[in-house]
Structure formats: C-alpha cells, structure tokens
Symmetry: C2
Subunit: 334 residues, 2 copies
DNA sequence: CAAAAACATAAAAACGTTTGCATTTACCTG
DNA sequence: CAGGTAAATGCAAACGTTTTTATGTTTTTG
C-alpha cells in the first residue's frame, strides 16, 4: 500500500509537509502543495484511516444496535441513521441482537473497543444495566424506539398517548367490545400501549375485561403469528368483539387473517387498527388503519442527538425527545 | 483510556507479556497469565482496535453496499451477511447507494481507505468500471443479487431460468396473453428476466407482442407504482390479457391493485405472478404466487466466498455461484 | 543593509499495539 | 553441579499518521 512517505519522496518533501498540505493544518507554499497533490494523484494515495484514527482517538463511526433488520420497522430507522450519519461524515456499523441481551452486550463490548465514537440502540429487553453503565462512563449513547426505565438520551414516541388515541377513535366510532393483542409485556413500549388501551376504555366508561386481552410474550420471528393465534383463541372461546387494537401492524395483519378465516369481514363485522404504519400496510386488503411512527425521522434525530455528545464532551443532563405519531385511518376500520 | 501499559504496570510485567498473555501468541507462565487477566478485569481493559488493525493491516470489517435497505429484498440479505460475518469475527458496515453510481463510488473510496478487508456489493447500475478496477487491484470483492457483465466473484440466481420457468408455468396452466412488467432494463437482472419471458413464449409457440410489454426504467422509491401504472396503462389502451408476469413482488402488488381497481378478479380473471418472495407476499390478498430468491443464503454465501479472498491472497479465477430459486404457487394464479 | 519577524519546511515524538530478537530464568542431563 | 537447552520475559522497532518543536529561508522594516 502507498503511504504518506511514498508521497513525500515522490514530491521531494517531508511527510509532515504532505500531511499539512492535505489537511490544511499549517502553512504550505502554493507550489509545494501542488507538487504534493500531483504526487497524491499519481500514486493514488489514500490516507490510512486506522493511523489517523489512532492518532486522533476518533473513528468517525457509529454503531447501530437493533433487534432485527428483518423486522420491517427497522429498515426505515437504519436509513434515517445512515443518511444523517453520512451528512456528518460518519459511517454506520449494523448490529442485530435478535432480542437477546447477551448478544447485545457482546456487540457493545465489540463496538466499544474504542472504535465507534457513539452508539444508537433499540434495546433488546428491559434488562439494561449495561446501558446504564455505558451512560455513566459518559460514552455517547442514544436510545431509540424502545424507551427504558432510566433517564437517558432518547428519541421515541409517546406510546401511551398514541395507543390511547387509537382506542379512543374506535370508541368514538361506535365500538364497545375492543380486543387487544397486547405484545410482549417485558418491553416498556408494549406496556405503555397496553396502558393507553386500558385508560381509553376507562375514560369512556367501558370496563376493561380480561377475556378481551389476548396475545402472549413470545418473540417469534414470525411476527404475524401472535396476532393470528390471539384472535383465533378468542374465536375458539366464543368471545364476541367488534374491534381489535393490535399493538403492531404485523399483529394486525395476523388478526385480519384470523378474522377472515372465520368468515367475518373487516371492517364490516370487526374493525382492526394496527401500530407502526409499515410501508406495505397500505397495500394489504383492506388497507390498514394504524398509528404512524416517524421511523426515518427517529433515526435522523438520534444521530443529531448523538453527534454533539461525541463532540462536546461537556456533560449535560440526558433528554428525551418525543416524536409525533399520527393516527392514519384507512379501510380496516368502519 | 486504559492501555496495555497500564495493565502491564498493574500486573508487574512488560506490555509485550500482556499482549502475549491475551493473544496466546507466545509462551507465558500460568501464574503470570493469571496476574495479567486479573489486571485486565480490574482495569476493564479493552485492546484498542485501531492500534491492532494498524499493526496487522486488517480491520476484521467488511462493507456491504446495497441500493437501499428499505427495498424489502435487502434486509434478509443484510441479515445473512451479518450472521455469517459474525461467525468469522467480522463486523459489517452498511452503505446505501440509492441506485446512484456516484454515491457508490464515494462509498467504495471511503471503505477502501484501508479499513475494510473486503466488500460485498449489489451494484447500483451497469456502469461498473470502478468495480472492475477494484477487482484488478486484487481487492476482495463479491458481487451479489445483480450480476455484472464481466467475470467476477458473485453469488446470484439464474434470473433467465427463473423467469423462464415462471412464464412457462403460466403457459402450462392455460394463459396465452401474458403481460410483463419488465423492470429497469439498464440492469442485467431485469434484462435476464425479460429474456426468460420472451424465450418461454417463443418455445411455446406464442408470439411476443409489443403491446403486452409494460413498465418503464424509472427507479422510483415507491416500488409498487411501476406495476400499478403499467397495468393501468394496458387497461386504458383496452389491451386484453389473462396473466401478468411482474419482475418483482412489489410490481406484482401494484399490478394486483390496478386489476382490482378496474373491477377484475385475481386470479379468476387475471393471474399474477411475482418475483422475490418477500416476507409479506404471502400476507397480501390473494397470497402471491412468485419466484423465491434465497436472499438470506445469498448473503451468507457471499461472506463465505469473501473470507478466503481476504485470507489467502493467492490469486484465483473469479467464480460465479448460482443459487437455486424456486417457483412458489399460492393463490394469485389459477 | 542588518536584524527581527514571518513563513516554510524538516525532524522527531506520539498514538497503542504486536513481534523479532535478546536476555534472563528455570529445568534437565550427564 | 556445571553446562546446555527450553521456557519465560523484556526491549525496541514497526505499523501510518499528526503535531510539536526545531531549523532554515524568506520578507519586512527601521
């Protein structure tokens, strides 16, 4: 490989002059700068990033830790992160944890070996002392999508509020027996959505009944399955309901499938509302009513929050940024 | 930050001994190894990756360059790449080109600054001298998904064959007026699929007629739109057809929408077959018949092909690996 | 025109590792 | 128990940069 010394020799100057000519961190005569630039071009010299990084203690790299890029909410997030990172001259390392805390820890270790300048993470579970530790060490880190139970720099939506609004909409449009596919209650975000569901019912004077609460805490990769099973379960118990609030679009899709399988129509017999607004949620039949998360923006904002943390090492109180979600009504609700 | 010297001091040995104790690259007495390990734990020492990389000329990092992670075929590929990479101790840097050659070049430059050991790429376009150049420089690179017109290490499917089989299936099941949404003909993979379509018709004695060839070369991010517009276009010209071969599932979804919008039924009136087998293609209505690409495996195989290129710097002829695709018949064909 | 000031460049140290070589220590063997 | 061998460890160089310090060369100015 061609080094700065080769360039120096070719241009007839010292390595330090080459460095200055390229970085602009010092005076260099126009004529020599030209000689250097010519030599650089001639030899196709590219500075060794590792050496630079070693010297400066920075890598201009950030780690993005998410449960699974195949979960369709994450590509948009990843894209937002990458686009923003690129704008700041950073590159992104992608890490999938499969919802497993140990994998998450392992990746953090790996990333931390001083080569990423910061981390953006959608935590795998509610066990996150390792994240607290990182934060205490003043390592730049931003939590996204899944809020945690300690104060941290985070970019999320108000899951409680969003769920409350969605369920309130169902109530307002005449539904009274509203089932929920509740999601993994280990995760704060599903607890919040569940809480929103209950409060909306209570505020409307509708009792929260156990038999309408469906879904389990499994984390199957077949994400529609939970919704499908949950609704099938209701049918098999002959429980009546006129609407379903699914805590993700994928669960909603599974729910719709189950409803159709039992010969009922969406939304004529049963309304279904989802959560996430995946790109293809408008493409299914019927197009899904859902809560839209600004996933791309969450990714972008996370980077915008992270960079200052990396730059000014001034310690500031962590802040949570609440992004706006939006209720999108399509054809799966009447 | 804590360095190897700190550990050495704490353990009462020299830095070289610490290095050997940790890497195993030399003899070290059991008792001293223990002292070192204790010191490491006590100080929470983590070797500086940059320094290691600088010394060894390797970063244990690979770059993955794809058009767009939001295009639903790529998450599976990315996951395959990451899982395999992890097995070999490598990490993955994700780069989205948005189908833009300049962005692609820019990323390659960036990655090449000696810090990725190899690159896996789904090229943005048919302009790829920069990839040829990389290959000639003996830089480890593997092409995936989108074949190129020069001999390279690649992991792809036989797009011609797969398209041929899909169209042949339509013919065998009684369709005669088969329209195609042809995809961007700048890209070899769509040319191949188009060629398969034509050959299948010819081999069955069915003429290839211009009016049934639809779709344009745009690369809109709204990937269903091309299929939607293409089919609408046919209807508006009053062209009759009894089947559609869409060159991607997303185009198929758009096509189905257009067909439904015009009051026809899939598959009773018009059959539709797609290409890719996206995770949600079985979830739409009707569940889509399609050609399955082993996307996850393509990612995995690409890494398995790349690692030897990185390790043995022995120059071997590039080889193309053809993965098997599979025709999956669901409910969108009769 | 000489001395000071400003500018341009070179030399050397530093970043945190790994590793070849030299040295010390421990262990055998005759 | 001396001498030889093997094992364990330390020293120093090297990886490719950037930056501080030192040196040499202009230019300015009284």
């Amino acid at each position: 490989m061609v080094t700065i010394k080769d360039v120096a020799k070719k241009a007839g100057v010292s390595p330090s002059t080459v460095s200055r000519a390229l970085s602009g961190n010092g005076p260099v005569k126009e004529s020599t700068r030209k000689k250097v630039l010519d030599a650089v071009k001639l030899l196709d010299y590219r500075p060794n990033f590792l050496a630079q990084g070693l010297k400066e203690g920075k890598t201009k790299t950030i780690g993005l830790i998410i449960p699974n890029i195949r979960n369709p909410i994450y590509p948009a997030v990843a894209r937002g992160v990458e686009d923003a990172a690129k704008k700041f001259g950073y590159t992104v390392i992608l890490c999938n944890t499969d919802e497993d805390v140990d994998t998450e820890k392992e990746y953090i270790q790996k990333l931390q070996k001083r080569w990423v300048d910061g981390i953006i993470i959608a935590p795998a579970s509610n066990e996150n002392e390792h994240i607290v530790k990182l934060q205490n060490e003043n390592f730049p880190i931003v939590v996204i999508v899944r809020n945690v139970d300690f104060l941290s720099n985070a970019v999320i939506i108000d899951n409680y509020r969003a769920a409350y609004d969605a369920v309130s909409y169902l109530i307002r449009t005449g539904h009274r027996r509203i089932a929920i596919v509740k999601g993994n209650q280990q995760l704060a975000l599903y607890r919040e959505r569940f809480r929103g569901y209950k409060q909306a019912l209570l505020d409307a004077g509708i009792p929260v009944v156990e038999e309408l609460i469906a879904g389990d805490d499994s984390d199957s990769v077949q994400w529609t399955l939970d919704g499908y099973n949950a609704i099938n379960c209701l049918f098999s118990q002959n429980i009546e309901f006129d609407a379903v609030f699914a805590t993700t679009d994928l669960r909603a899709i599974g729910a719709i499938r189950a409803i159709k399988d039992h010969g009922y129509k969406v939304p004529e017999d049963i309304s279904v509302i989802g959560f996430d607004n995946l790109e293809f949620s408008s493409l299914i039949d019927p197009p899904l009513s859902t809560v839209s998360q600004p996933l791309y923006d969450i990714g972008m904002r996370a980077v915008n929050k992270l960079i200052p943390l990396i730059d000014n090492k001034t310690v500031t109180e962590p802040t949570i940024e609440i992004m706006l979600s939006e209720l999108i009504i399509r054809k799966s609700t009447k």
